[in-house]
Amino acid sequence: MTKGTNLTDAAVFRAQGIGKSYPGVRANDDVSFSVEAGEIHALLGENGAGKSTLVKMIYGLVRPDDGEMTLNGQPHQPADPRAARAAGVAMVFQHFSLFDALTVAENIALGMENPPHRHALSARIAQVSQDFGLPLNPARRVVTLSAGERQRVEIIRCLLQNPRLLIMDEPTSVLTPQEAELLFATLRKLADGGTAILYISHKLDEIRAHCDRATILRHGRVVDSCDPRAHSARTLAAMMVGGEMRPIDRSGRRTGEVLLQVRALSQPAPTAEGTALKGVTLTLRAGEILGIGGVAGNGQDELLAALSGEVRSAPGTVLLEGADLSRLGPEGRRVAGLLAAPEDRLGHAAVPDFSLTDNTLLTAGARKGLVRKGLIDRPAARAYAADVIRAFDVRTPGPGTTAKALSGGNLQKFVIGREVMQTPRVLAVNQPTWGVDAGAAAAVRQSLLDLARSGAGVIVISQDLDELLELSDRFCALNEGRLSDPVTTEGLTLDRIGLMLGGAHGMEVAHP
């Protein structure tokens, strides 16, 4: 038995010696832990540590090879998620599965086995949202909801099943600090009512603030189990990655001449759900990291598209070292030295079904000489993919692996590495560490700092305010397509930034 694991009778859920193998990988090995009623239990680990395999087994998506699980003292062997739900397990996924065109109530009804009549369901949704302080109008269309509100839909969907065990997969990655506080108040209320909560996250500070116990996974095994409140974030991170975390090194940077200028950039919304950019103006100097914060859906994707060249803009709006790039497409901008990495790794920054070798050809063809006169140099592409894999510690069998086979953190390291190793003059990244484990996130952030140190300019668009505080020299907020004036990051507090972003445009406040 693993050190510190406490198998008392209060356990709602218990795993004993769980193991699961995939071809070539031992995803889980002899995993034992338990979650008690009324407990918020953190599951900590790097991507690839086996967290998702473990919760997929609990939720009936994957069957364990060996070991036993019990729920409320009964053997728990769900054949599918439906059986798991019937047994009292509910799960809120990191990626929402909601239909934009339908209302909140319709979306919830779709996920139920036997949905009650519409009016009865709306009344129950209103009741649950009242009880748990999750303000939500059942009649609203999902398309009009913020990320935080969408998450509430998923949570209420789960709560209507009266779960014994609620699994939350990285729930705060899309929330503002204020929204996250609201979520924790709800979770605490649920736990006080006797629900066991299994909480997956890589944000060590929030785990330390809100979780009662933490089980730490590394390479598929339980390495420790502890009270996170009794340890520093540094210690927890060290347990997770199996060694001392290297502190982020911000030293040695010096701001130089102006590299990138964006002048009064306005763009209509690309789609009905998109956001129009309204007079965005910014200046980026060599060696500088400019952080752009804001809740998703406020023009982040549109701003990145305008920088990458996916969307061209009016002449004179995007200038790199004095040259007007506004009318150039992505390839022309790459040649000039303006590179970008979009938020969505699978399907935007990389083609999921292509090998890593082929994925280098997506952006590095010109700058790395992988494509000459239209002809693809596959050996050169393979060598470049191997270079990126080596330099950025991408854990994968090799350049021939398809992008979709990589974990989120590893693919993100590859995508960032592919751009950084082209030595851009300016690199713009959107959500560089979204859904990425702590180890990979640290590596990505360090690589951005190193790039800035070498004299390039970096724009980081992110919802993760800790990340922006850690990386950026100056900070702007993007709100409904408008970019605020930059403020120097030094001396800014998280609360103040949170208010700059969320409070500014009428975010709903909890009514406990």
């Binding site: 062997q77 769900p78 054949a79 599918d80 059986a83 990458s308 060249g309 996916e310 497409g329 992505p330 390839e331 022309g332 790459r334 970008a340 979009p342 969505d344 399907g347 935007h348 920054a349 990389a350 083609v351 999921p352 079904d353 292509f354 082929d358 050809l361 997506l362 952006t363 063809g365 494509v371 239209g374 002809l375 693809i376």
Partner: protein, 358 residues
């Protein structure tokens, strides 16, 4: 109980096995069908799939294989490029007809002039006609967001009406005793597309088909534009990020497949068909869709699938002659082939598992 479970990886072997499986299932289902209709199923299948190549009259039917396969392969090569990019040209039949008309128009305008330039000019005109017919859905999609599937398909019927008008009107043979149809180009040497090597059936269309297979293979596997096409089919946003303009892609794919279909039409009208009639379109443009999918959108696969489908044409005709099988046999076979192919294709994305009851 059995159920379908999504696959994470598709075994490479399956990509080859599924078309073969579909062919076998078609033979089996076809045999059952003939049995029910009162024919000897084994003899019928043998007549369709074996006799054209190795039967008593094979020396007559064998050259027909290349004659029928050439247009199918030429058209399917172009279609497959678009299909890989997620651009669905269903109207190759129309582009084929228009290519035949524009190509023949050059010859009919030149008649009775002699000169080496006439046939090459016809090929260019045929390709240009097909290209122009393909650009109609491309531009409508780019300007108004119209579905290229519907527009290209509807333009087939427009092309058929134009062919009928040409055969009865502007292109009618002045020395044809009032019969509909243009002059026979086989009797006008500078414009004819003869058999290049006696007894093989190989005409210039066969050469063009072989060139198309090589060229599309090169494009899709060696050239960055082919890479962009594949990326656009799998992940359109990633292709855009790489620098692909969707509008350019739509125009390229519909233009290329239109031009190849138009060339196929010209080779046919200058060769085996000989003249523009109201029945210029014989369905190659539609059958080529089956060829493209049966060949897994891969140039080599298309080559093999084109030969197989050509075999069903010849075998079907042979069965009509020798066994009195109905004329629709060929279409039934081609339909079944596509049906089984799409059915078995499910297995590339799902695997069959026995249900485990909870």
């Amino acid at each position: 109980m059995i159920r379908l479970v999504p696959r994470t990886e598709t075994p490479a072997l399956l990509q080859v096995a599924i078309p073969l499986l579909a062919v076998l299932a078609t033979m089996l289902a076809g045999g059952i069908l003939f049995g029910v209709m009162g024919y000897d199923p084994v003899a019928a299948i043998k007549t369709i799939f074996w006799d054209p190549l190795f039967g008593p009259a094979a020396s007559y039917s064998r050259p027909q294989l290349l004659v029928k396969a050439a247009p199918l392969i030429l058209i399917a090569s172009g279609l497959a490029v678009g299909f890989r990019a997620g651009i669905w040209n269903i109207g190759a039949e129309g582009q084929y007809i228009v290519g035949a008309i524009t190509g023949a128009a050059v010859a009919l305008a030149a008649y009775p002039a002699q000169g080496m330039w006439i046939f090459p000019a016809m090929v260019v005109a045929g390709a240009a006609g097909g290209w122009a017919w393909g650009m109609v859905p491309a531009l409508l999609r780019n300007w108004f967001g119209a579905s290229e599937i519907l527009v290209s398909l509807m333009l087939v019927y427009v092309a058929q009406r134009i062919a009928a008008w040409m055969a009865f009107g502007p292109m009618k043979n002045p020395e044809g005793f009032g019969f509909p149809g243009s002059r026979n180009l086989q009797q006008y040497p500078p414009a004819s597309n003869p058999e290049l090597v006696a007894g093989t059936g190989a005409h210039w269309g066969v050469v063009a088909a072989a060139a198309a297979v090589l060229a599309t293979w090169f494009l899709m596997s060696r050239h960055i534009r082919g890479f962009h096409l594949r990326a656009a089919g799998l992940a359109p946003r990633a292709a855009r990020f790489a620098g692909v303009r969707p509008e350019t892609l739509v125009a390229f794919c519909l233009g290329l497949s239109g031009a190849l279909a138009g060339m196929a039409g010209l080779f046919e009208v200058a060769g085996p068909a000989g003249q523009i009639t109201d029945k210029v379109g014989v369905g190659y443009g539609f059958t080529a869709i089956i060829v493209a999918f049966l060949g897994r959108l891969h140039p080599v696969g298309i080559l093999l699938a084109g030969l197989l489908l050509a075999l069903t044409y010849i075998g079907g005709e042979l069965a009509q002659l020798t066994m009195n099988l109905p004329a629709a046999t060929v279409q039934v076979f081609q339909g079944m082939l596509l049906f089984f192919l799409l059915g078995f294709d499910l297995l590339t994305r799902y695997r069959i598992a026995r249900r485990i009851t909870a």
